[in-house]
């Protein structure tokens, strides 16, 4: 049973063949759109479109949304944390307030 490389699924590809397998994938716009569509329907039919779907189907999507937004704003958040530690444990816009309290 010799399956050609192009039609193998990811888990059946051997490590040595991985670069050539990636290069053979369909990177046209319709190919990428097809990949997103397949991914969406895989998730939808497994967790949402079932007889007794639970809150987990929706919560996983929202958790992924929160995580992606965190990744998007990581840079800003880490810079403001740096400013906070530089001014002794208080956020930089509160430094004036703390100085006046002391």
């Amino acid at each position: 049973m010799n399956v050609p490389l192009k039609e193998k699924k990811l888990l059946e590809v051997k490590l040595g063949e991985l670069p050539s397998w990636i290069l053979m994938r369909d990177f046209t716009p319709s190919g990428i759109a097809g990949a997103f569509q397949r991914g969406y329907y895989r998730y939808y039919n497994k967790y949402v479109n079932v007889k007794k779907g639970s809150i987990a189907g929706l919560s996983m999507v929202l958790a992924a949304y929160v995580f992606l937004n965190y990744c998007r704003s990581y840079k800003e958040l880490s810079e403001s944390l740096l400013d906070c530690f530089a001014s002794g444990g208080v956020s930089p816009d509160r430094v004036g307030l703390v100085h006046r309290l002391i």
Binding site: V48, V50, R72, G89, S91, D93, R94
Partner: protein
Amino acid sequence: MNENLFASFITPMMFGLPLITLIVLFPSLLFPTSSRLVNNRLISLQQWMLQLVSKQMMSIHNTKGQTWALMLMSLILFIGSTNLLGLLPHSFTPTTQLSMNLGMAIPLWAGAVITGFRNKTKASLAHFLPQGTPTPLIPMLVIIETISLFIQPVALAVRLTANITAGHLLIHLIGGATLALMSINTTTALITFIILILLTVLEFAVAMIQAYVFTLLVSLYLHDNT
């Protein structure tokens, strides 16, 4: 305060790519389409809610006004879901941007008013002068009614923007205050934390109420004009 506080309101870009498109389109992922009579729980819940809201909101209109049902229901779903998603941590709320709310308010209001002027011209013009006004007051009142008509879309947009932005800012501020107070005086921090919880509950309510109010007002302007 300074830019640290308003940092969550700037348009999200990553590596120069406008992420804002993806964020605006994201709520549509949460409302799947159905092609069956009996659906899964998510779609059934959404259909039940939609029927409830549409019956309550479209019952006051005549046949001509009820052709707007799709538009108004999409509007309330979009604003409601966008506002609720904005309450998740680190997320960006498109309805905090005045540009977007003006883009929603002006075309809808203009559509309702122009429909009124085209189909019932006399009645639409009659709205500019309330019944039974004393004759000397007429010129002033016409001016006032014109101003009040033209301020309607601006009020719609600014109301939504201001409510959502103010809520987010308050949550940021009180959250920051709770954190800062924890090392100084734990009891006060606890009280502030309770205030934060109450505020979050309020924000959930406000998110849905604002969507409702926006859509209700548009439907009212429509009712006047059909």
